[in-house]
């Protein structure tokens, strides 16, 4: 049948509705200046930091503002609510509206969890530890199950989480219908059960800490947040300050962060005229995801390999330039933490419009999860204002927010890398030389991030 369709396609002229809005307005903005300014800002930060001893920077980052209260003991309750909500959403996925913008499951999962919660983790701290949907149920079943039967070998590292995140990225970016409610419900339910089984076999801390990719990745992102829950009372700190006390990640953990950044980057790249043209796809007549399965699978893998190679080489070159005896993978495992703010900046910039519009759809869908005419929270009849991201004024505001986030993220990343370098062992007087390769990589990544957001898109 495919060949029959192809034959008909070639015979029949088609109409096209390649959309002029959104990116069209951005194309008229002086984005080239932003690219240059962004690169200059990150480079200047790098050079200025050269005058600041990492120890001094660390001292600043170690400052805390103590709050007069601690974490309330509601973790069990929150997790049980979260579990119930998860199951409710799964049920909605199977039995609610088939429309992915009316069914709450795709909206909650892709917009509020994958984008919204990740950003909240990055801004605040590990909310996920309190609201993950496994903790509560595990506490409930604890009396009935014994001690974990199996021990997770140490060499397992974060590899299961890397696989999980790769699967998630593929599902999001390449699968034909990741928003289909029942398809997503199946995936979510299967993943919940698999994780629950993993916990039963290997124990909660081990499995969620290193194998379950959401917890592993969100836990890493949370290290950037400003809420320090380490003590009895909460404290506020500078963004990224808590990254100073991180342990170097094993290679698998390094790759987990790199994969997260690569997947967001590739999501942006895969929509550009550049990528489509490179692959012989007419960007004004985008054929749909089904035509891109192989191309984008290779592209996603390629983006990951390219980023990982560039990062590891930059770290290795930095050690060579500074005559630092630290083992390269150990240094990479430490410095990779400086990519966390970049991943957050990319995520914010890339999904800002999605968050603004689909966030509204989520609020509406929440009130009537099964499309039965309910109005549980009084939001069922809210008018979704898509105009919030449309028109030249919105385009200008959004572009400035996006480019600001990208540039700021890289400036912070350069700073974090500089502070982390205090834990390396460069030869005397070679500290800055050692950071130069990674600094250059960050300047280039700033330019690429801004370019991805400002070049014409067709998918």
């Amino acid at each position: 049948m495919a060949s029959a369709i192809a034959a008909v396609v070639s015979i029949i002229p088609s109409s096209a509705f390649a959309h002029a809005a959104d990116r069209g307005h951005v194309l008229l903005l002086p984005t080239g200046h932003y690219l240059a300014a962004g690169a200059a800002a990150v480079a200047a930060s790098f050079l200025l930091l050269g005058f600041v001893r990492p120890g001094t920077l660390r001292a600043v980052l170690d400052r805390r503002l103590r709050l007069p209260f601690g974490l309330p003991g509601v973790r069990l309750l929150l997790s049980l609510i979260s579990f119930a909500l998860t199951m409710l959403l799964v049920a909605a996925g199977f039995f609610g509206s088939r429309d992915p913008l009316s069914n709450p499951l795709p909206l909650f999962f892709w917009t509020l969890l994958w984008v919204g919660l990740t950003l909240a983790q990055g801004a605040l701290g590990n909310l996920w530890a309190a609201i993950n949907p496994w903790y509560g149920p595990c506490r409930l079943v604890r009396p009935f199950v014994g001690t974990p039967a199996l021990r997770l070998p140490r060499r397992t590292g974060y590899w299961p989480a890397v696989l999980g995140l790769a699967g998630m990225a593929w599902f999001e970016l390449i699968d034909l219908a990741p928003d289909d409610p029942s398809r997503l419900a199946t995936v979510v339910l299967a993943y919940w059960l698999t994780t629950f089984a993993g916990i039963a076999l290997f124990g909660y801390v081990r499995w969620l800490g290193r194998c379950e990719f959401l917890s592993a990745f969100l836990g890493m992102v949370a290290r950037f947040g400003i809420v320090d829950a380490g003590g009895r009372r909460l404290a506020l700190c500078f963004p990224g300050a808590r990254l100073q006390s991180v342990a170097p990640l094993p290679l698998s953990g390094t790759l987990l962060i790199l994969l997260a950044l690569a997947s967001v980057t590739f999501d942006g790249l895969s929509r550009t005229f550049f990528w489509l043209g490179l692959n012989g796809i007419n960007p004004l007549d985008f054929p749909g995801r089904s035509a891109m399965t192989v191309i984008n699978s290779l592209g996603l893998a390629g983006a990951f390999v390219a980023l990982a190679a560039a990062f590891l080489m930059a770290v290795w070159a930095g050690l060579r330039l500074s005559a630092d005896p630290t083992p390269p993978l150990r240094a990479a495992g430490l410095l990779v933490w400086s990519l966390v703010p970049i991943a957050l900046g990319y995520l914010f910039a890339h999904y800002l419009t999605l968050l603004l519009v689909n966030g509204q759809y989520a609020l509406v869908a929440m009130s009537d999860p099964f499309s039965l005419g309910w109005n549980l929270f009084g939001t069922a009849h809210w008018n979704v204002e898509a105009g919030i991201v449309m028109g030249h004024e919105a385009a200008w505001v959004i572009w400035n927010l996006q480019s600001g986030a990208i540039i700021l993220a890289h400036v912070v990343a350069v700073s974090v890398a500089h502070a982390l370098a205090d834990r390396l062992r460069p030869a005397d007087g070679r500290l800055l030389a050692g950071q130069l390769p990674l600094g250059i990589l960050m300047v280039l990544y700033t330019v690429m991030g801004l370019w991805l957001l400002s070049s014409p898109t067709g998918a």
Partner: protein, 434 residues
């Protein structure tokens, strides 16, 4: 309680079994709430089920949103007036991701899983073409709102209809008499170098020739282009009308650069609003289109002579006088096309009533009843205007609007006759077996 026992660690202790069981039971009860019961009841009331193949995600999502709003508005009215054959209409929306393969899957889901009576609402041509074979094989009527020439070409199959919007061949052809008679006889065309542009490249010249005008230049722009200035010197100096149908994100750049190229001394410009559908024509960069003309299927802006039906339609869908969402001025609608959803739903209603449609066993009768339709009168069911339906090629024909950009609005200056857009049928679906 410490989290280092049992499943969390080594020692097993903690919540009592009783507390744990209560918690589990409460959670299960929450998950299996009253929604399931009501859902089960809804299945037995037997509404007419229309499968809406919607572009909710993917490249067509901006259009899909307005197709959905229009569909909802029409169905609300249809149901308030008693539904179809005394049964309420239920819309089942499935997202096709604006993808042809997914489109075919969705058609199969409508026919199988959802037991839909018909499938409806597709816009993008490649999704129509990808889905049509599935509709034919599963013998489910497939009503598209695409404006492509695919249905009328009679190269799809007998189950495919386009009764609510005219096709691009008819639209282009209908422009020729007005262009030749009012703006100029020497026309240069600028179009993107792929199928959409080829429709215009191929259909316009013969239509203009029949009106005593001629195409003196055809400039095909590669689709990956995002700057156009270097193409403009190819425009012949004696050009009286520049016919442009650029699409995509670089349209604003195209207009801006064209303005910089010509300054105030420009030829007449004629375009299709497809280029700027859902885009505010008062956006920076578009100043140059002031005073130029566009094709519009249905006018974006409220006109001084709008019929009551047109006013009621606009109010029901929720667009203001500027064609934007009521209360959300930046959300400009796809007004030129989305009326087709409204009118198609009323055609389905009419055909089902004519066929005495009861259920999926009557689908073939529904096809024949649709083919037997000949004309639709302007009114609440057809607010865009009168239509003529050709049952042999499953395609509707209607009036087109030519609008001038004046004072930041699109003002209709001419309405073509239906005859302007008629052409010789290229085949006959009714001879195909059902």
């Amino acid at each position: 309680m410490a989290d280092d026992t049992g499943i969390f660690g080594r020692k097993a202790a903690g919540l009592s079994r009783r507390t744990a069981l209560k918690g589990l039971a409460a959670t299960a009860a929450f998950a299996a709430g009253p929604g399931f019961v009501r859902y089960a009841q809804a299945q037995s009331s037997q509404p007419i089920r229309i499968g809406f193949q919607a572009h909710r995600t993917g490249i067509g999502a901006a259009y899909g949103r307005w197709y959905e709003k229009t569909t909802d508005a029409a169905v609300k009215l249809i149901n308030a007036a008693g539904g179809i054959n005394g049964r309420q209409v239920e819309i089942i929306t499935e997202d096709d991701g604006t993808d042809p393969k997914r489109g075919a899957e969705v058609v199969a889901k409508f026919a199988g899983q959802h037991k839909a009576d018909v499938v409806y609402g597709t816009l993008f041509s490649h999704v129509v073409i990808g889905s049509a074979p599935a509709a034919g094989e599963l013998k489910i009527p497939y009503y598209v709102v695409s404006e492509g020439h695919h249905v009328a070409s009679t190269k799809l199959n007998r189950w495919c209809f386009q009764p609510g919007i005219t096709d691009v061949k008819s639209q282009i052809q209908a422009m020729a008499p007005w262009i030749a008679g009012n703006v100029g006889k020497k026309v240069t065309m600028i179009f993107p170098d792929f199928a959409f542009g080829y429709d215009h490249r191929d259909y316009l010249p013969p239509a203009l020739k029949a009106q005593g005008a001629e195409v003196i230049g055809q400039i095909a722009i590669p689709p990956t282009e995002s700057s156009f200035t270097r193409y403009f010197p190819q425009i012949p100096a004696e050009t009286e009308v520049l016919y442009h149908v650029m699409v995509g994100p670089a349209v604003l750049t195209f207009v801006k650069e064209l303005g910089e190229f010509y300054g105030s001394n420009k030829p007449q410009l004629f375009g299709f609003i497809d280029s700027l559908e859902a885009v505010d024509i008062n956006s920076p960069g578009l100043e140059f289109i002031d005073g130029t003309h566009f094709w519009e299927g249905s006018p974006r802006y409220a006109q001084s002579n709008d019929s009551d039906a047109q006013k009621a339609y606009r109010a029901a869908v929720g667009i203001d006088d500027n064609g934007a969402a009521v209360g959300d001025a930046a959300d400009v609608s796809t007004a030129a096309h989305m009326f087709g959803c409204w009118e198609t739903l009323y055609v389905i209603k009419k055909a089902m009533e004519d066929a005495g449609y009861q259920g999926p066993q009557d689908r073939a009768k529904l096809v024949e009843a649709t083919e037997a339709l000949t004309e639709f009168k302007e009114g609440p069911e057809h607010p865009q205007g009168d239509k003529v339906f050709n049952g042999k090629i499953h395609q509707v024909f209607g009036h087109q609007n030519i609008s001038k950009v004046e004072g930041g609005k699109l003002v209709v200056v001419h309405r073509t006759s239906i005859e302007d857009g008629l052409y010789e049928p290229e085949g006959d679906y009714t001879t195909m077996p059902l």
